[in-house]
Structure formats: structure tokens, C-alpha cells
């Protein structure tokens, strides 16, 4: 991982001959493979399964984009990245898009030269602690040793939270989720803090998940979403509208089960426009008219992806909450396909 950071820095320094320019789509199509940056391993979001195939909520976004662009959801080269290496990898062109539970912040969007194309998970930072500590609130954590993934927004939120509540803590900086898990279980830190979805995913992989509680306080807003480089609007649009297609599909009732049937044509114009039987949306994006059909067929719509990777039926067991459709009291809201 050090190597990646170094190469990324070198490449960012301009040693790589070509610069990431406005040709990402052509590059990906020529390569026949999408380079997608994902987490080094976070169950439910991005982790290889027993057969070595990457699975998860963030992975599904990569698969949908690969299906839309390359007509093959498997044509992906997954690049596992740590919190520290992800941005260099994206800036240098090592990856075409980043789907690694990355928080949309002002600095990253406006200053670092990236474009957040949307939000696929509304999250917030929480704390996990052993149940037998008998702690019920994050405000009782004065003096605790806190394991934290370095290079993330959680690091800054944590500092703000303890400062504004006048509490002390001892940060233990850690590179990956796996290391953090090991340190936490070994008792080297009292508390593990990260996005609460990440906590749920981590806890689900423990031997005895019921021995650990996630404290009720959510100390930050963490809108997570896929990221692309700034300066290639065409490619940004493709990733943005692929994500929107997944979300809109759920709203419009398009599922992996009925998509073949609906793609024949329906009497609902918006479904027709989404699935390419009406209008030329695919062409506008530089793709063919079936792009959204393939993207949705790859893993199903947003709701199906959620349910199969991190939903309540899975070991992660996250409820939809803020991530429900806007029609059901959530924040998931795709702009209209018009």
C-alpha cells in the first residue's frame, strides 16, 4: 500500500506521461476493463467472497457502470485502496472511478480536483464499544483510547467531537479496517469509530457480535458516494446517471425480475426513457440505448442492491433509514430522467 501511495504521488507529480483528460470513456472501452477503486475489505460494502469475486454495496456501483459502458459487469479490475491512497490513485489515473465509502466534503470536491457524482449511502460517524463496559453514550468516553482509520474524515470529526465536548482521548491511528478490527478485538483500544455502516459491517464479522454495542450518538454527516476526476464531464455524467438509474429504477418499480419485460416498452414514458425505448439518452451519454437496462440488470435496482448486500436480511443488518426512497421518508432522490 505504500507502493501505491508512492506511485500515486509520483504519477500526480507528472512522471506519468499522459494526463487524465477528457477521454476516460474511450480509454475504458479500449481497455475493455473498468479500473474501479474499492475498500481493502469491508464486509457488505466491498470484499472478495469465498471464490475471490468482489461483492458488496460499493462494488455493485462499479458493476453497474461496467455493465453500462462495457456490457459486462465482470469486466472490472478492482483496485483495493486505503483511506490514504485512494485520492492519489484517482488523481493519477490509476483508477477510473472510486467507489470506496468516500465522504463528500467541500474540500475534496472543490479543492482536491474531484467530482462527487452522487450519494449512494447517507451515513454518519458512530462509536462501537464492548457491551460489558456498560457505557450507553458517547459523552461518557472521556479518556478513552480510540482506534481510528487514518486519512479519513472520521479523524477530523473525532477531534471536533471530543474538543467541543471538552473530553480527552487517545487516538490510535490505523491504516485499514482489518487492522482496526484486530486492534479493537485485542483490546488495544476501548472504542472503534468509523461510519456507522462500517461499524455494523465490522461488527457483523465478529465471532460474537452481540458483545459489542454501537453507541446511539451519530456525530457527523457522512454522505458517501462514487467519485471521479474533475475535468471529464462526459465520464462524470455516465457514472452519475448510472447511479441515478439504479435509484430511479427502484422508485419506478423496475427490478431485475421485470426489467426484460419492461425493456420491451411500457405505457409509462419515464420508464421508457430510462430503459431507452424512448428518446436518445444513451446516445447523449456516448453509450447505446440499452445502457441503463444493463446497469440495472447487473445487480438489480438500488433497493435490491441494498437488500442483498447490507440490508436487514444480511448479517450486516442495516435498515434503510435515511437511505429509503424519498417517497418513503428517506433521502434517496434521483433527478428526473427527462
Amino acid at each position: 500500500m505504500k507502493k501505491t501511495a508512492f506511485l500515486g504521488a509520483l504519477a500526480a507529480a507528472g512522471l506519468a506521461a499522459g494526463v487524465a483528460s477528457a477521454q476516460t470513456l474511450e480509454e475504458v472501452q479500449e481497455r475493455g476493463e473498468l479500473n474501479c477503486g474499492v475498500n481493502t475489505g469491508l464486509a457488505g460494502f466491498a470484499a472478495p467472497d469465498a471464490n475471490g469475486v468482489w461483492q458488496g454495496f460499493d462494488v455493485a456501483v462499479c458493476r453497474a457502470v461496467a455493465a453500462a459502458v462495457l456490457d459486462d459487469p465482470q469486466a472490472i479490475n478492482f483496485v483495493p485502496l486505503t483511506g490514504q491512497t485512494r485520492f492519489s490513485a484517482l488523481a493519477s489515473g490509476e483508477i477510473d472511478m472510486l467507489a470506496r465509502n468516500t465522504t463528500w466534503t467541500f474540500t475534496r470536491d472543490a479543492d482536491l480536483g474531484f467530482t462527487f457524482v452522487g450519494i449512494n449511502y447517507y451515513d454518519g460517524q458512530g462509536f462501537m464499544i464492548r457491551r460489558d463496559y456498560g457505557i450507553g453514550s458517547a459523552l461518557e468516553l472521556d479518556g478513552a483510547t480510540v482506534c481510528i482509520q487514518t486519512g479519513t474524515t472520521t479523524e477530523l470529526n473525532l477531534a471536533d467531537f471530543f474538543r467541543s465536548n471538552n473530553m480527552e482521548y487517545e487516538p490510535v491511528p490505523i491504516e485499514t479496517n482489518a487492522e482496526a478490527q484486530q486492534q479493537y478485538l485485542a483490546g488495544a483500544c476501548d472504542v472503534y469509530t468509523t461510519d456507522s455502516s462500517g461499524l455494523a459491517a465490522t461488527r457483523a464479522s465478529f465471532e460474537t457480535p452481540e458483545d459489542h454495542v454501537i453507541l446511539p450518538e451519530i456525530i457527523s454527516k457522512e454522505p458517501l458516494g462514487p467519485v471521479v476526476r474533475e475535468g471529464d464531464e462526459e465520464w462524470g455524467d455516465i457514472v452519475r446517471w448510472t447511479l441515478n438509474a439504479l435509484i430511479a429504477a427502484e422508485e419506478l418499480g423496475v427490478t431485475s425480475a421485470n426489467i426484460a419485460e419492461l425493456a420491451e416498452g411500457t405505457d409509462r414514458p419515464e420508464v421508457n426513457r430510462l430503459l431507452g425505448t424512448e428518446g436518445n439518452f444513451g446516445e447523449v451519454l456516448g453509450l447505446d440505448s440499452d445502457w441503463a437496462v444493463r446497469a440495472i440488470a447487473a445487480n438489480g435496482n438500488y433497493g435490491e442492491i441494498f437488500a442483498s448486500t447490507i440490508g436487514e436480511q444480511t448479517p450486516i443488518g442495516l435498515s434503510r433509514g435515511l437511505n429509503a426512497q424519498w417517497t418513503q421518508g428517506g433521502l434517496m432522490y434521483a433527478p428526473p430522467f427527462r
Partner: protein
């Protein structure tokens, strides 16, 4: 023909080569500027004055998350230097002992140290650091196990030292009567600590003068005056008087809340890093010391024996002074290696320069190029300073040709 004129040819080749080299540099710089412009980035070190926003666990100077990235970098630099100094000291002690004992006539000692050298220098230093870290975190009790009426773990040395998976807590010296602090704008220096260090330095200086005097008397009369009790008096009394005057006491670590409070907290990351780097580099130092001793010709020790010198005197007066000349230059490289290897600190979460400036700061500000260049510059300066200091020492002990 000009082509066959060696002077002309060599000058031409050099000029062409220089131009190519400069062209390559210009291309790199130009490419960097173009690429940065394409990414909408400028080249600026302004971020060093912005608020850092993150916390650092081990800080040798005052720091909180509202201070600047530059300050965080400085905290990291001090942490790097701390572990480098501790590591070099450990490597030297371990290396010199192991190198000399490897030449021991005792079969078992020599073989054991051969095993040490071969095992440690043939396994990557990162693995050693991780192993020590794993031992420290997995095999030691957590602070909670010290709690309760019948705790599973207990503190050592009369409740003075606690070894836990968060690190080792030892008593700290504290002064009840303080001289205050010296405010140097960027950081405060405790005048108490300064006074104690000053007294120790003066004691050592006085002791040095005493020994020099003894040597002069010995050279003049042939009899060396007895100095040991004067030395002890000179070294110990002023320090004790000073400590008494400042009303020094020990602050013992005790369980407070989640962790131990009070005392000095030696974090596992620091311990693992020091042990990993020190013992690993010690294996190389051992080989350097051994080769230095073996390089002194056998005739020297035979001549010393013929003069009636005892073996330990032979070692101290004849062999080691000559061996040092051979030992110092490669030892410099080992010190440099160790200092640069401290950048492996990230692996165990030790907040050194690489983790603060080269890690979190770069990541939060997106200034990879500036950060990396600054990082390289600082490591370069540290290395040049070490190498410069060691070269001065080397030229002092090397064979003087008159």
C-alpha cells in the same frame, strides 16, 4: 580530425550529456506544471499554516488539533528524531556487545550471537517491528484487567510500572517547586528540566577535567592518583542537591477511567519501533564491530601480550582504538539506514513525520507533491546532519599522519 582528439571528444560528450540531463529535468518540471494545471491544482505551501484538525497521540511539544499543519509536521519530526535516537542508541549497545561476544572463545556464546545476527539481519525490519508490536498488544493485559479486588494482572515493582496492551507506564519525575517555563514563541521549555540537564552536563565536564588531571599526574610521576570517589562525588552530589532543591518526586501511574493516568506513557508503537529498528540494525552493527576487531592485525595483540598487557587492557588500549577507525564509516550508514527506516512507523500507527506530514496532512489537504517534496527535503537534511556529525567524529579518531 576533431573526432579523434580525446580532449575535444570528452568535453563534447560531457556537454551533450549535461544538455540531455537538463532537458530531462526541464521536461519533468514542465510536465508537472502542465499536469497540475490540468488537475486545477497550484503549487503552494500555504497549507502549512492552516489548522490541522487532527489529533496526535504522542506529542513531545504542546499540540492540539486547532494548531497548524506545520506544527503537526514539527511534532511528527520530533517523534521521528526520538525514535531514531533511541533506535541508534539501542543498535549501538546491542551491536557492540554482540559483535565483541561473537568473537568470544566460549563456544555457546559465540554461536548464540551468530544465530542472533543471522536471524535478525535476514528478516525484513518491517516484520520485526510488526512482531514486536503484535507481542506488545496481544500478549499483555488490557488496563481493565488491572481493575477490581482480584485483578487478573498487576503492576510491577511495587505498583510503579504497568505493562499493558496500550503501552508501558512508568513513573515520571515531577518537580513540586518549579522554575517555570521558558516561552520560545513556538514551544515552551521547562526550566526545571533544563536546570537538571545543565547540572548533569557540568558534572560530566568536571569529571572529565578530573580524569585529565589524573592522567597528567600519571604521565609526570608514573603513579595514577585514586579518583573513583571524587568522580562519584562529582557526578552524583550536584544532581541530588538539584533534585532536592526542586523538590523532585515521582508521579506513579494509576488507573483512571479507561486507562492508566499519570506517569510516563511509553506507547506500544514507540516500543515496538525502537526494538524492531534497534535490534535489527544491531545485527548489522555487530558484524561491523566484529569485522573491525578482526581487521586489526594479529601482530598488534601479540605485541601487546609481549609487553605484558592483560587481555582486557589489550582490547581497550590496543585493539579497539584501531578497530574504531574501521568501524565508524560503515556505522554511519547504519545510523542513516535506521533513521530512514523510522518511516516504517506508519505500520504500527506511530505518528512520525511520515504519518503526520506524509500521511494525514497530505491526505486532508491534497498537497501530495508539496508534502512529499518537503518530506524528502527533511529526511535529506536529517541524514546529512547525522552523516556530517559522524564524519567529524571519524576525522577526530582516524589515524593522524604527521
Amino acid at each position: 580530425m576533431l573526432l579523434y582528439d580525446t580532449r575535444y571528444r570528452s568535453v563534447t560528450i560531457q556537454i551533450v550529456f549535461l544538455m540531455l540531463f537538463m532537458g530531462a529535468i526541464a521536461w519533468l518540471v514542465d510536465n508537472t506544471i502542465t499536469n497540475l494545471a490540468a488537475l486545477n491544482k497550484n503549487f503552494s505551501f500555504d497549507f502549512l499554516w492552516e489548522s490541522a484538525g487532527y489529533d496526535i497521540n504522542q506529542t513531545l511539544i504542546e499540540y492540539d488539533n486547532q494548531m497548524s499543519h506545520g506544527r503537526a509536521m514539527f511534532v511528527g519530526l520530533l517523534n521521528t528524531l526520538l525514535v531514531a535516537v533511541l533506535g541508534c542508541a539501542l543498535a549501538t549497545v546491542v551491536g557492540v556487545l554482540a559483535g565483541m561476544l561473537r568473537l568470544s572463545k566460549n563456544w555457546l556464546t559465540a554461536r548464540l550471537l551468530a544465530v542472533y545476527v543471522e536471524v535478525f539481519r535476514n528478516i525484513p525490519t518491517l516484520l520485526w517491528i510488526l512482531i514486536f508490536f503484535a507481542i506488545m498488544t496481544e500478549a499483555t493485559p488490557s488496563p481493565r484487567e488491572f481493575r477490581g479486588d482480584d485483578p487478573a494482572a498487576s503492576m510491577l515493582l511495587g505498583d510503579a510500572v504497568a505493562i499493558s496492551n496500550r503501552g508501558v507506564y512508568i513513573p515520571a519525575v515531577e518537580f513540586a517547586r518549579g522554575l517555570g517555563t521558558l516561552n520560545l514563541h513556538y514551544f515552551n521549555i521547562s526550566l526545571n528540566a533544563l536546570a537538571v540537564i545543565g547540572v548533569i552536563a557540568l558534572s560530566f565536564y568536571a569529571n572529565g577535567r578530573l580524569l585529565a588531571h589524573a592522567t597528567r599526574v600519571q604521565n609526570a610521576t608514573g603513579v595514577r592518583p585514586v579518583t573513583w570517589w571524587k568522580s562519584v562525588l562529582l557526578l552524583v552530589t550536584p544532581l541530588l542537591v538539584m533534585l532536592y532543591a526542586l523538590d523532585a518526586g515521582l508521579d506513579y501511574p494509576a488507573l483512571r477511567g479507561f486507562n492508566f493516568g499519570g506517569g510516563t506513557h511509553l506507547r506500544n508503537s514507540l516500543i515496538a519501533l525502537t526494538l524492531g529498528l534497534g535490534i535489527y540494525t544491531g545485527a548489522f552493527v555487530a558484524e561491523i564491530v566484529r569485522s573491525g576487531i578482526l581487521a586489526v592485525s594479529r601482530g598488534q595483540s601479540e605485541a601487546a601480550a609481549a609487553l605484558g598487557l592483560k587481555p582486557n587492557l589489550t582490547m581497550r588500549l590496543v585493539i579497539l582504538p584501531q578497530a574504531l577507525r574501521i568501524i565508524i564509516p560503515p556505522l554511519i550508514s547504519q545510523y542513516l539506514n535506521l533513521t530512514k527506516n523510522t518511516s516504517l512507523a506508519l505500520a504500527v500507527g506511530y505518528m512520525d513525520l511520515r504519518s503526520t506530514l506524509g500521511g494525514i496532512t497530505i491526505n486532508q489537504t491534497g498537497r501530495e507533491l508539496e508534502g512529499m517534496m518537503l518530506l524528502m527535503l527533511i529526511y535529506l537534511i536529517i541524514s546529512l546532519l547525522i552523516s556530517g556529525a559522524m564524519n567529524v567524529y571519524n576525522s577526530r579518531i582516524k589515524l593522524k599522519e604527521r
